[in-house]
Symmetry: D2
Subunit: 332 residues, 4 copies
Amino acid sequence: MIAIIKQGVNDNQIENLINWLESQNLSVHLSKGEYTTILGLVGDTSKIDIELLENLEIVEKVKRISEPFKSANRKFHPNDSIIDVSGVKIGGGNFAIIAGPCSVESEEQIIEIAKSVKNSGATLLRGGAFKPRTSPYDFQGLQADGLELLKLAKKETGMPIVTEIMNANHLPLFDDVDLIQVGARNMQNFELLKELGKTKKPVLLKRGLANTMKECLMSAEYIMAGGNENIILCERGIRTFETYTRNTLDLAAVPMLKELSHLPIIVDPSHACGVSRLVKPMALAATASGADGLMIEVHNDPRNALCDGAQSLTPEQFDDVASKVKTLMEVL
Amino acid sequence: MIAIIKQGVNDNQIENLINWLESQNLSVHLSKGEYTTILGLVGDTSKIDIELLENLEIVEKVKRISEPFKSANRKFHPNDSIIDVSGVKIGGGNFAIIAGPCSVESEEQIIEIAKSVKNSGATLLRGGAFKPRTSPYDFQGLQADGLELLKLAKKETGMPIVTEIMNANHLPLFDDVDLIQVGARNMQNFELLKELGKTKKPVLLKRGLANTMKECLMSAEYIMAGGNENIILCERGIRTFETYTRNTLDLAAVPMLKELSHLPIIVDPSHACGVSRLVKPMALAATASGADGLMIEVHNDPRNALCDGAQSLTPEQFDDVASKVKTLMEVL
Amino acid sequence: MIAIIKQGVNDNQIENLINWLESQNLSVHLSKGEYTTILGLVGDTSKIDIELLENLEIVEKVKRISEPFKSANRKFHPNDSIIDVSGVKIGGGNFAIIAGPCSVESEEQIIEIAKSVKNSGATLLRGGAFKPRTSPYDFQGLQADGLELLKLAKKETGMPIVTEIMNANHLPLFDDVDLIQVGARNMQNFELLKELGKTKKPVLLKRGLANTMKECLMSAEYIMAGGNENIILCERGIRTFETYTRNTLDLAAVPMLKELSHLPIIVDPSHACGVSRLVKPMALAATASGADGLMIEVHNDPRNALCDGAQSLTPEQFDDVASKVKTLMEVL
Amino acid sequence: MIAIIKQGVNDNQIENLINWLESQNLSVHLSKGEYTTILGLVGDTSKIDIELLENLEIVEKVKRISEPFKSANRKFHPNDSIIDVSGVKIGGGNFAIIAGPCSVESEEQIIEIAKSVKNSGATLLRGGAFKPRTSPYDFQGLQADGLELLKLAKKETGMPIVTEIMNANHLPLFDDVDLIQVGARNMQNFELLKELGKTKKPVLLKRGLANTMKECLMSAEYIMAGGNENIILCERGIRTFETYTRNTLDLAAVPMLKELSHLPIIVDPSHACGVSRLVKPMALAATASGADGLMIEVHNDPRNALCDGAQSLTPEQFDDVASKVKTLMEVL
């Protein structure tokens, strides 16, 4: 950590600051220049509140040199983490395909889709029960009933299930859910993250639509600081000025997050683009970028889907994508 | 609402679609062109799920003409809403200054600041008890104890209090809070919004840092759809590529939101800029833009503040800002 | 094109507007609703200035339904364009790898790199002679001398050369350049585009760092409107709030631009990321997304490169990337 | 400037680097930590190419502490610059109102508007002759003829004139133009900036729509490095995800740029918002934020304007804005 001292500060004030910093178990190196004096702070700065330092009257600016996340940091955990989701491994060379409808709509629907995507090679089943919708007048999901239908589909097919949580109070309902998804809008719902940190449940943490990679890792850190290290990150597009696609899929986040962190990262091309025609090229691109898995929306009747049908693949389209992804994995 | 039909669709398919739309209580106007056929849908389209329509195989695109928010829409409520916060009116010509520290730290601190900002002209006292922080290692607020200290300050000064809620389960603790703040990171925490819709408490809804004005109004709609119409909007900066300021304060949102909606809107220049030196010019600019109030961070000892000290004014600086704002209000 | 009429406009005014529009060779369809009246304008609206219409007192808003670009539009040119760059074909299934240093530095450097990348499978040689740099104090390129060195390398290896133009006055110097690059900062330098439209030279048009896909196609349209249809588009990252990468590579632009336009599109992962470690995964991802080619920076001594060394691959690294890309192309 | 050394680099390598840096006339301070070793570089680092350093194999990252702009930097020029535009002073307490049509259309039009805005208090006349338009099919301005009409209006009213240049070859035509505008799309047209640096003409440099404040100052630096210090900056909105306004007016840029630089800064609320209804509140807000002037579009017949009529004020509306701005200036 670097603290830049304001111009015109006298030596006595600087010495006082150095003494105070040393009392915080940091060692301090002083560099004095004609225009700028800087202090290099060495030691465990990961738990220091950067704004506290910036408040000091004689300090102009503080810059972190090392990353503020620790449990998620690859520097202290060089090997890839492998997350075990009820027997399905993700990360460290284990590639997972999560597929299913945006919303669970009926027993027939979810079971039909589950069987179909399993046949095509999906290893986990997704389906929304609690749905975050921008408008209060839009369909909000089947909620607890949707979870029951997911469990039926799991029983029928043996596939572990993935679904989104929007409220920590619902946690007891998620006992039989294998991988709990935190959606993009809740990536910084710190109260929810803390509660998930108290469980041992695998968590699928989606990057917020205007959140940096660093903030995404800090949100993972919230869960890990509570003791739960079973986290899978998910890139699903960020918000930019472009309007032809719903969001801008940031695939460079895949190799970058893997460099910064040991956690696995998967990609959701369906939500990123919002257009089903782009799902296949983006699924292949994500695979080629080194992702540990994909999450793809599949609906047996996209035209009549209750939510996000425009971005869903038909089972036939998904089969094609899954087979191309497999071919790609083999040559990579 | 406009539905654009794909090229090459036959007349029979279009007729079927028109029949279906008319069965949804919409009247439909057809325009056929050489390259494009469009349907104009007329009626109450505000409760229609736009994605449902876009799913239809023959539809290329759907565009809304009217706004998807209804309760918050000025078209159906031409007069300014005036929100009464325990006797302090906001909106419709009533200008409010909310001031106080980022975090409540101690009884002495909050009471000293409360007295001081009241003297300078503030009409509501702010103070964070539950603090959303990017890092789990940063100070998280005094929580329930902080709320107690706020109430003491209210008792001492008579000022209504404003503080942020992060978890709907905490609502019982907020019984004596006069204006409940929903922070930027929770603007789309729909579960929280729904719970606030069930109360009659005035809500200060901050625009999310990557949310459009429309989404902000849709979040207000979530609360209003539940029956609570006591909402004050707050512009606090959006996330852009610029790095000299923490966020980019979008002051055009003030007149634009006032045109779209009857709800009052205030501005928080402290969080927007993240630099105390910019608070005064931005407070004056916000006032000149037509805002219904300001929310400003004030700390008696910014250097030693536990949170966001870099953006806090001293009581003397705040007194200067408040007096300049008053002068400005008089000439506007 | 849709024109939405303001509330409260009388029938007479609307009739006058319809008469005027019909006199512009458009046919007009009227849809009247309780809150909204819209006019559907049918005919060749691609050359209509949308702001002219919006100026009319009775018009609330105008929305385009069809795209404002015509020559670049796939609707009117369903087959892929194939651009011939001095014998090297790009587009329509022809994949090109453009490689070379950020800046041409010396005869030895450019010839050594040219031979090496040719051996690895590159089909065109890039090298900057005129360099756009944010700071006037940074190295500005060898300029005309750099062009001469590129031509020597072309003579030596037979590879067509690609280099950036910054000033239409330099066009005579570019006579022997095979593919003229318009950089991201000049994508809306309309004066330069018009001059390039008067030539028949193939143009590599890079998307601006804050430009939409539509604007990119409109810039292509500027060149095409002048009579030059030899255009290759290039995605090279857009500017977002993320700071770990220099820009955010928008790979969904590849399939989306190919859907909107018949022009080939290549990807520049080096400039997009600004970090050489990300070039390989992003080159593979771009290939998998369906790009028609890649542009990659290679330097024989990245540590001592005069420009952008941080994003350059060594010849060995490039050889590895090129061979992986080839394998990928075979299975796709 | 700070250079962070990679982990695992041996002392010998570091010593070599220090020797090399010292040979570049920098003095170097070394701070060694358990995880991080940093070098503090002291001296004139403003002319050092940051990427050169980052290329070195043993260097992980380089961060600037001082700003890379020098001539524009307030640190080396503490007093406000005052720019004299043919007798009209701007900056250092001198507030200017620039007004006129988006495009010059005819002699009658420009003279009528010029007289009218002069009466209302404008001190400079603007009018577009060369127009940068996104589409090649939109009106491109009267070009050289437009410049002639502007000069007639200047002769008639005595107001200095402001108009945009798009091509350095046109400079001879701009001999009688008092203030040459560089538009947002050309802010990084470095060839144009260099040519303007060779003149002594006052330049109005508009911030690019996706450019940071730092880049804006670096573009000013391009002109100043050539010897022309007569520069006025202009904030005119940046590109964000918001769609209700054309751009997002970044008013915090006003006090921030004034802190960083001694150059005057004005605000263009017309282009920023793209909606005439927002011009008045944003003009007032800009004035309150401390701007040195305003640039406002005025048209005698906005409905029939050939360009950007939607954002133009009528002369009556402008008169109202100008008088309110004056009142505001008096109390500030």
